[in-house]
Symmetry: C2
Subunit: 322 residues, 2 copies
């Protein structure tokens, strides 16, 4: 069976799996990224993990390549550049170094861009030529597809929309120091920050009055909203409004048919989606109104990121067949 190794490099976990041409993931596992601050050790760990997966798979596997999704990755240079939540500093030539251990075609891409390729090959964007995947995890990522192609940019850093300067609200700083930057508001972390902000702004009673920032988790905020907690409801509304404004602005750029949302914040379901939909059409220019869908990823789940990474190789295979 032809298989691709899909690797999702995250600040917390590195997930690895074997993925067939239909986006089905066989044999998957993960290890903790932070346990391998030394790059050589990390790459050796990837190699040994891949070997284990192939052993476990047992059957005849024809590995045709390795696709990697990672934060701050440049597809054109094959590097990860100063990713703020990874231990390795500067420009890391990951593709080149991994090739010394895995002798096969290797491609790397920004994780949100890989997710967009995954949606196009295996997920909810199979028939779309213009859409944007938004990942709402620790940060805010974007993978942009226009004219049926992923937008890379001049040297592979397109789609860094989390650091777009919205000059909004109280001008929070992002991790990269952008004042009023989007992901300081619209991300799992942004929502937590907004729960703190709402406690500063209002005096209403709330379960959050007894929870410290570091003890606060996304699920708590969703749970609180279910129970009618005013701070939680205000926080979702505030986040959704800024997100709606941002997505309306992004629409003016490439006019996507849909935004496909994934990541931790989307697990809050209707608490984020209902106000988002309410505000979104209000911010859109008339020429776009009613034309832009807000969708949940159909690939959401534990293997979505692995399959997105594997899509980098499968996409190339499909091009060869044309």
């Amino acid at each position: 069976m032809d298989l691709v190794i899909g690797i999702d490099i995250g600040g917390t976990k590195t997930k690895i799996g074997l993925v067939n041409e239909h986006g089905e993931c066989y044999e998957k596992t993960f290890f903790r990224t932070k346990e391998y601050p030394n790059l050589d050790n990390y790459l050796d760990k990837i190699k040994s993990t891949v070997d284990e997966l192939l052993d476990n798979f047992g059957k005849d596997a024809n590995i045709i390549g390795c696709g990697i999704g990672a934060p701050n990755a440049s597809s054109k240079n094959g590097t990860i550049e100063s990713a703020s939540n990874l231990a390795w500093k500067g420009s890391v030539p990951l593709v080149k170094l991994l090739k010394q251990r895995l002798d096969m075609p290797i491609r790397i891409m920004n994780d949100a861009s890989a997710a967009a390729l995954g949606e196009m090959l295996f997920g909810g964007a199979k028939n779309m030529t213009d859409f944007i995947v938004i990942t709402l995890g620790t940060g805010f990522g974007a993978g942009i597809v226009a004219n049926g192609q992923l937008i890379d940019g001049f040297d592979g850093f397109a789609g860094e929309l989390g650091h777009v300067d919205m000059t909004i609200g109280d001008g929070r700083l992002t991790g990269l120091g952008v004042k009023g930057g989007l992901e300081a508001y619209v991300s799992a972390t942004g929502l937590k920050r907004t729960v703190m902000y709402m406690q500063s702004k209002y005096l209403v009673d709330s379960r959050f009055r007894d929870i410290a920032y570091n003890d606060l988790h996304g699920e708590d905020i969703t749970q609180a909203a279910e129970e009618g907690d005013e701070i939680a409801l205000k926080a979702f509304d505030y986040t959704a409004r800024i997100m709606a404004q941002a997505l309306a602005n992004f629409t003016a750029f490439t006019q996507p048919e849909a935004f496909i949302l994934m990541g931790g914040l989307t697990n809050s379901g209707k608490w984020i989606m209902t106000p988002l939909e309410k505000y979104f059409n209000g911010f859109l220019l008339d020429v776009y109104k009613g034309k832009v869908k807000l969708l949940h990823s159909a690939m959401e789940g534990k293997t979505a990121a692995i399959c997105g990474a594997a899509a980098l190789i499968w996409e190339n295979e499909k091009k060869k067949q044309v």
Copy 2:
């Protein structure tokens, strides 16, 4: 000789010319758009103007098509949709109606997108795959090229960046009612508005204290800057700073190799470009710093818009030859 009819539909003038495959414009003329508020009369006038140009050209001309650049044009639908500075309201099926008078391939496109195609075929972007043309006239237009292709969007309305909500400064309204929208600040009109604003903010003496808004022209502001007029200098600095912030945001989207600037505001030369360059790198994320060029259009001049429109047809011809 193979020639394309290039038509630039503007709120003030409609320019028509005959353009060869190298972007050289033979026989050109214009008439005033506003003199033909009736659409049928307008289309008849285009037909008779084209006939005149062909008569004047004299030599054997093989007309292979007609390209049109127009505000609010949808390339996918062949229409102009509710353009705020044109007399015809609603959705105008211009391509269909013009085909009844000119029996040839006809394509229409947003004027800034047509300008981008023109730069790619004939101008300063011949070797670029990722760039954005910014037109700074009465409004703010953008033509986006990524992966070597023009970005159309889902139904042809990509690039409406003049109405991106910057939530900046004093929250001016654009012509479409967007509060804090970019073109209310960054355009020839925006600069005039800023000259008024600076007179409200400061009490310094200025030649503009004796000039009413409707008597104010872009050249006056450039001239005043040459003479050291403080209001003029502050107006350019304010405009350039907002423009720098916007272009830095746009960079995060498609990471262009260059922004190519054209239109009335760029005639102010160094008065806008020097502060723009000063602020631009400051707003860019580190990953983009020093990689994005700010260029003047090499096609600037009276025939640039006509050649850009003609590029719609020449681009298709070149694709056929591949």
